[in-house]
Symmetry: C3
Subunit: 356 residues, 3 copies
């Protein structure tokens, strides 16, 4: 109890001490958080950034570079509950498979491709949980990891066409099945991949009664592996020109464009987002931001991002008029259930900021 | 309670929905796990792999590349309890020392080599715990880290001869002291080291009334540092020829051969394991698999492996007729007590699968 | 209860078993730790090193390479409590800012430099907590990250001169404000930076009624990035000569010299520490050791250090006559609240050893 009185006393003392300074024109109300035993001042600064809320997350179970948490249904159930509490209403399966690893026993892949038989039907599990928590689920496509080269595109398209048919027939009855995610992450170097987007996206919409389709490309910026290895980053103007061409190719096949926000530096982000919004408007797409909740600036690749960095990016997204924010991804990097305990504290900071 | 009813309802619905499909010829029983409050369906797939159980683990306290957990006796006691619950009956000290670091105040090393005086007698502690939990303990040899070059082998042999004498005299009274581990991890590049195996192994057996000796070499495969740096991986046939020669050198000195299973790709593993079994049979050895429970495929080197990958490897081992499985290693990568919380979830998935 | 009896029995058995051996001249008392339910022997070795206690820690919130924990005031309050319990009486803000990131809304930086507006006033928070827990707080300077080159030094000096004035005016009333930390980490390669030390240090002392100033340089040893990249490590003699010159340059501006202890190998440390003490004595400084509590020897850069290594370094520091030990840093690497759970166990080993 002594602790609490100390803090309150300090809070008021600070307030009167600074009352005449340039820093505060009026006495800023002191933000506080309560625990069972004590009340703590947050020491929030008077002009702290606002940001915009995150309403969606990827589900990264068939992972490229993020170690697995080995959760079963019980743990996933708890995590969906935590998402919901934070305001998340949409979950997006990052991909149905990558190379030999697949999320569910898809017959069309087990028969044709050299894939491992999976122990769990993740798609059924995620849909069941999304139904339970009243969320929207987007199904991410299969990424062969090998048919990206010119001349092999058609194979990647054919596999996904068959997969869409099988998946919609088997899982389409779930009320939460509300969209498709075109999982191939393209950039300027792989722009011919946009043909995959177009064909696959149109087919997915056609079989499912026009459900929404999403893409999440990345900017060829200073934090891409290519640029870190010596390549030149794309200027804002070059970015606009290249993507104008790419988006023209996929017109009518993509409803939501959610650029990844981590490949450019924090102070550069706003300018790129403004262009993304302009392009989305031109092609009649919704413009989301894919806000990365992991930290690209540390030698451990990757742990949860610092709250200050997340807030900076959420504020740039707000100012640039993004229509929604999806994070990559909640369960490792923002969840109170994450094996990375920094994630749970990021969740607390986020909830504290948005007063959840 | 609502949650549970939802899940059960979904489970039966799924069952009847699919009853006529090719996917299920009969209605597969739904696997469930119970918690205090709810029952959760596991969403196990109908043809999920079986695998074989893990009955042994290394103890990696004098570590090469795995950060320490800083456990005292209390934490180790809890961990032995968790091992026992999972079915582990054998613990193997990975090494008595590595370079300047040693596991216990061995007089024969403190006197002759430039080693640090250790704060804890780990060998006494591990033997005491193995006694308590009715496990077998294997003592791993000292690895100087510097006498591996041609011409210096004899020094490594002499040090370990003296160590065996001292250790058997001091710790041999423990009922759990049941074997020796020849800790030098050899591969084709270091096959002359097999001389160490032979001499040291024979001496250890001689002083201890013929206790078992174990080795755990590695395959010169695609995930070794050497091959990742440009060297050519060994084919299955080359692997067989080279190891036929090496095993001939150590005939009579080694009772258990437990190849590490992480240096080859998942789909290659079975073929190598079949050869290992054939070779073990030829030289009258027991053939175990050393199943790595850490993930070699991620940028963080290393965190716990994905359950699906572990199960794939355990199933390849089962099909190839391995006689036992030892993991590297329980306490960091599979334990509910691990600092890596993914490990605790791997433990849960393992126990769930083997219905423990 | 059975467990406890077992352990005690073993303890006495071991004692009588060894009573006549060379290992123990008298029967060493068995060290034990108690939990709620059981008593555990520690298996401490008879001649275990002593070490010296750690009384200070850095606060690494504006971090260079350590991922953030995303703590709020509540979590920091708990952490100061844990520090206090371990005997820490001094906290040192590692830096007021680094490049665009700053710890508090410093007007002199927000106006002139391209910095981000911070969400929290960390300086006010840390001072409030240091007041509450009766600790001393040292304020670390701003590091621009870009004015280190010859010819730009004056800019770094000017920024810090203005910062000192602002900070002392705004925060100087706190009873815990008791010193300054000159945060630029220099070594032989950057020795011209000592001009910054001298000018900034003198100004800080002048405005604050001669509060203490601290530096924490590093030895150009085998574990620096430079030497690992091919550069030659500095011998003990070269180290002495170069630092004699540097310290001569900063005479009168620095009160405490706390060399980082992690860039040399464990067996080399003592010799360097002896020289550091000699140099500190010559220039009338206090000689502390900056004991790194993270592990530089592992592929994950960085997790908490092994207790044995920490103890080795604390013992070298004790023998070399260090006057105090500050760690980099408590909250990530030694704290029971750390996201790295190995840190909590390091805390337990430390407290057990020093019987806290």
């Amino acid at each position: 109890m002594d602790g609490r009185r100390n803090f309150l006393k300090t809070a008021f003392a600070t307030c009167s001490l600074l009352a005449g300074s340039k820093l505060l024109t009026a006495c800023t109300p002191i933000k506080k958080v309560a625990t069972d035993e004590e009340t703590f001042e947050t020491f929030a600064t008077p002009d702290a950034l606002k940001g915009m809320p995150i309403k969606a997350t990827f589900l990264d179970e068939i992972s490229w570079d993020i170690p697995h948490q080995n959760w079963g249904t019980k743990e996933w159930d708890q995590d969906f509950k935590a998402m919901k509490k934070m305001g998340i209403n949409t979950v997006v399966l990052i991909r149905a498979g990558l190379g030999k690893w697949i999320a569910s026993p898809f017959q069309c892949l087990l028969g044709k491709e050299d894939v491992y038989y999976p122990p769990v039907d993740l798609v059924e599990m995620f849909l069941t949980l999304a139904d339970k928590y009243n969320m929207a689920f987007y199904f991410g496509m299969y990424d062969s990891g090998k048919y990206w080269q010119e001349g092999l595109f058609q194979k990647e398209i054919d596999l996904n066409m068959a997969l869409i048919d099988e998946v919609w027939k088997k899982y389409g009855h779930h009320k939460s099945f509300q969209g498709w995610y075109l999982s191939q992450e393209i950039s300027r170097r792989t722009k011919n991949m946009s043909k995959i987007y177009a064909e696959v996206g149109k087919h997915a919409k056609a079989v499912s009664g026009n459900l929404s389709t999403m893409v999440s490309p990345y900017i060829h910026g200073v934090k891409t592996d290519q640029v870190m290895a010596g390549d030149k980053a794309l200027s804002v103007k070059e970015h606009e020109e290249e993507w104008d061409e790419i988006l023209n190719n996929v017109n009518g096949a993509v409803d939501i464009m959610a650029f990844q926000d981590g490949q450019v530096d924090y102070h550069e982000l706003y300018d790129y987002l403004v262009i993304n919004k302009k392009l989305a408007d031109k092609y009649n797409m919704k413009c989301w931001t894919n806000i990365e909740s992991f930290d690209r600036d540390m030698p451990i690749r990757f742990l949860p991002i610092k709250w200050e960095k997340l807030l900076l990016k959420l504020d740039a997204a707000r100012r640039a008029g993004m229509e929604n924010a999806i994070t990559f991804e909640f369960s490792h990097f923002m969840s109170p259930n994450s094996a990375y305990l920094q994630a749970g504290h990021l969740y607390e900071r986020y909830c504290e900021h948005f007063i959840l």
